[in-house]
C-alpha cells in the first residue's frame, strides 16, 4: 500500500508541477489544468483502445500536441487578461474548463470510460510486495518528465529565462528577454505536464468529463505543501499527500478519501502557510 502510494506520488508531482510552473511565471491559477487532464485521458483512450497504440508511448507522444495547445491558449486567450486582477484569469480559465467539459459531454457522453490493457492487472513480486507494472511504468514516465524538465530549466537559455521571469518579470524584460514568449512556453510546458498526468492517470483510473476536478484540488494542496519555487518541494508535497490518502483508508471510509486533501489543505494553510519549506526552516533554526 505504501509502495503504491509512492508510485502515485510521482504522478501527483507531474500534475502539480505544471500548476506550480504556470503560477510561478504568470501568477495565475490555471483552472483549465483539470480540463487538459481530462481531454488527455480521452485522447489516450481513443489511441489505445480504438487504435491499439502502445499505452506507455501514448502519453509521451501526445504531450507535444498539448504543449502547442497550451501555447495557443496563452497567446490568444489568457494573454488578454494578463495584468488584470486575478479574478479575471480565474473566471476566464474556469470558463475554458467548462467549455472543454461540455465538448467532452457532447462528443463522448457522460459515461465513465476506462483504459484496460494487458498490463493493467499485471504485477510482479519483490520481497513479498506485489507491484503493479502499470503503476510502476506510470511512475517512471512521470518522474522522467520532471527530470528532463529540471535539466531544461537549469541548463538552457529558455529554461533560465523561465526561472528569471518567475522571479522578476520587469528585470527580465530589461535583460532583453521576450517575456511574452517565455509565458507562452511556460504555459505550454504546464499544459503538456497536465496532459502527461491525465493520460497516465487514464491508465490507472476510470474517467468521465468531470475527471480532473478532484486532482486539481490535490494539485493545489500539493503546491501549498511543497511551495511554489522548487521541484523537490512539489515532489515532497506529492509524497505527503499520497501517503496521507493511502493511510487514511485505515480510519476513513474510502469514499472520504478526497476529504483528506481538503482537510490537509486547510490545516496547512492555518498552521504553516509557508508549507514544508517553513517546517524545514523551523527545524533547522528553531
Amino acid at each position: 500500500m505504501i509502495v503504491s502510494a509512492i508510485l502515485l506520488a510521482g504522478l501527483y508531482a507531474t500534475m502539480s508541477y505544471g500548476l506550480a510552473l504556470i503560477y510561478g511565471v504568470m501568477k495565475i491559477v490555471n483552472l483549465a489544468h483539470a480540463g487538459v487532464m481530462m481531454w488527455a485521458a480521452y485522447v489516450a483512450f481513443i489511441l489505445i483502445v480504438h487504435l491499439g497504440a502502445n499505452p506507455f508511448l501514448v502519453p509521451i507522444l501526445i504531450a507535444p500536441v498539448f504543449f502547442v495547445f497550451g501555447v495557443l491558449l496563452q497567446r490568444y486567450v489568457v494573454q488578454r487578461v494578463m495584468g488584470a486582477p486575478p479574478i479575471s484569469s480565474l473566471l476566464l480559465l474556469f470558463g475554458v474548463w467548462l467549455i472543454m467539459q461540455n465538448i467532452s459531454y457532447l462528443v463522448f457522453s457522460g459515461d465513465t470510460k476506462a483504459v484496460t490493457t494487458k498490463y493493467t492487472l499485471m504485477t510482479f513480486q519483490i520481497s513479498g510486495i506485489s507491484i503493479s507494472i502499470n503503476r510502476l511504468v506510470v511512475f517512471i514516465v512521470g518522474v522522467l518528465a520532471l527530470v528532463v524538465l529540471r535539466q531544461f530549466l537549469g541548463h538552457t537559455y529558455m529554461g533560465k529565462a523561465i526561472r528569471a521571469t518567475a522571479q522578476d518579470k520587469e528585470a527580465s524584460k530589461l535583460a532583453g528577454i521576450n517575456t511574452e514568449r517565455v509565458m507562452e512556453t511556460a504555459f505550454g510546458i504546464g499544459t503538456a505536464l497536465a496532459s502527461l498526468a491525465g493520460s497516465l492517470m487514464a491508465l490507472i483510473f476510470a474517467f468521465d468529463p468531470d475527471f480532473g476536478r478532484s486532482h486539481l484540488l490535490k494539485g493545489f494542496c500539493i503546491v501549498v505543501l511543497g511551495g511554489l519555487e522548487s521541484m523537490i518541494g512539489v515532489a515532497l508535497g506529492a509524497l505527503v499527500l499520497a501517503l496521507a490518502e493511502a493511510l487514511s483508508v485505515l480510519w476513513l471510509m474510502p469514499a472520504l478519501q478526497d476529504f483528506v486533501s481538503f482537510a490537509l489543505l486547510v490545516i496547512v494553510l492555518i498552521v504553516m502557510p509557508g508549507g514544508m519549506k517553513e517546517l524545514v526552516d523551523r527545524l533547522i533554526r528553531p
Partner: protein, 234 residues
C-alpha cells in the same frame, strides 16, 4: 544618439511627465537630477519601453523606439540597470550574467564580455557560484551593472547605482562607471548625490514635478548660485 522629444507619460489619471525632451550624444555621461517624484525614473522607464508614452517620440540612432517591446530596445543596444538592482535572487551570479547576454548578438560574444566585466568587478568572479540574493549590497550593484553590460550596450542607463551604498563604495561604483564610459559606452544616469553627479557628467538635466527645468554642463550648474539654492539643495 538618443533623442527624446516632447514626451508625456501618465500612470492612469496621474500625469508623471510633461513635455520632457533630452538628447544624449555618443560617449557622453548624462545625469538626471531632481527630488523624489520628479519623474527621473519614469523618464528612464519610458526610454527602455517599460511605460508607454501618451505623446511624443523617442529615437535611438535615428530609429523610433517608443512602442517597441522592451526586449527589442535591448536588442537595439540600450541596457537599463533598474532602481533597486532587481537581480534574480534565486539564480547564481553566473546565471544572472549569462541571462544578461540573452539577446542573440550578445550570446556570441558572451565569453569575452564576461571577462571584461570580471576585469571591472573582480569580486563577481570570486562569487560566481553564489546565489545573487546572498551578495552584499555593493556586490549586488556590481552584478546589476555587469548584467547590463553583458548585453553589449551602446547606451547604458543606470537608475541610482549608488543607492544604499557606503560612501567608499559609492566612489568605487562611480569610478567604474567613468571607466566603462571611457571604454566606449555612453551613459545616462540618475544620481542622488548632486555634487558628485555634476562633476562626473558631461551634461546634466534637472527635473522638477515631471518637467525639465534646467540643463547644462556640470560646471555651469554648479557655478550658478541660484540653481544651487533652488534645485540642488546645496
Amino acid at each position: 544618439m538618443l533623442d527624446v522629444k516632447n514626451i508625456h507619460v501618465s500612470y492612469g489619471d496621474a500625469q508623471a511627465l510633461w513635455d520632457v525632451s533630452l538628447a544624449v550624444s555618443r560617449d557622453e555621461i548624462i545625469t538626471l537630477v531632481g527630488s523624489n517624484g520628479s519623474g527621473k525614473s519614469t523618464t528612464l522607464k519610458a526610454i527602455s519601453g517599460l511605460v508607454p508614452l501618451s505623446s511624443g517620440e523617442i529615437r535611438f540612432e535615428k530609429t523610433r523606439i517608443d512602442r517597441l517591446h522592451a526586449y527589442r530596445i535591448v536588442e537595439m543596444g540600450i541596457a537599463h540597470v533598474p532602481e533597486g538592482r532587481r537581480l534574480w535572487p534565486g539564480l547564481s551570479v553566473r546565471e544572472n550574467l549569462e541571462l544578461g547576454a540573452y539577446i542573440r548578438t550578445a550570446r556570441n560574444v558572451k565569453k569575452e564580455t564576461m571577462e571584461w566585466v570580471f576585469k571591472l568587478f573582480p569580486r563577481l568572479e570570486e562569487r560566481i557560484s553564489q546565489l545573487a540574493g546572498t551578495l552584499s549590497g555593493g556586490e549586488q550593484q556590481m552584478l546589476a551593472i555587469g548584467r547590463g553590460l553583458l548585453s553589449k550596450p551602446k547606451l547604458l542607463i543606470l537608475d541610482e547605482p549608488s543607492l544604499g551604498l557606503a560612501p567608499l563604495l559609492v566612489d568605487e561604483v562611480l569610478e567604474t562607471i567613468q571607466k566603462i564610459n571611457r571604454q566606449g559606452v555612453t551613459i545616462l544616469l540618475i544620481e542622488q548625490n548632486v555634487t558628485r553627479a555634476l562633476s562626473l557628467s558631461t551634461r546634466c538635466y534637472v527635473l522638477e514635478l515631471g518637467r525639465i527645468v534646467l540643463s547644462g554642463t556640470g560646471q555651469d550648474l554648479l557655478a550658478d548660485e541660484r540653481v544651487k539654492a533652488a534645485y540642488l539643495g546645496l
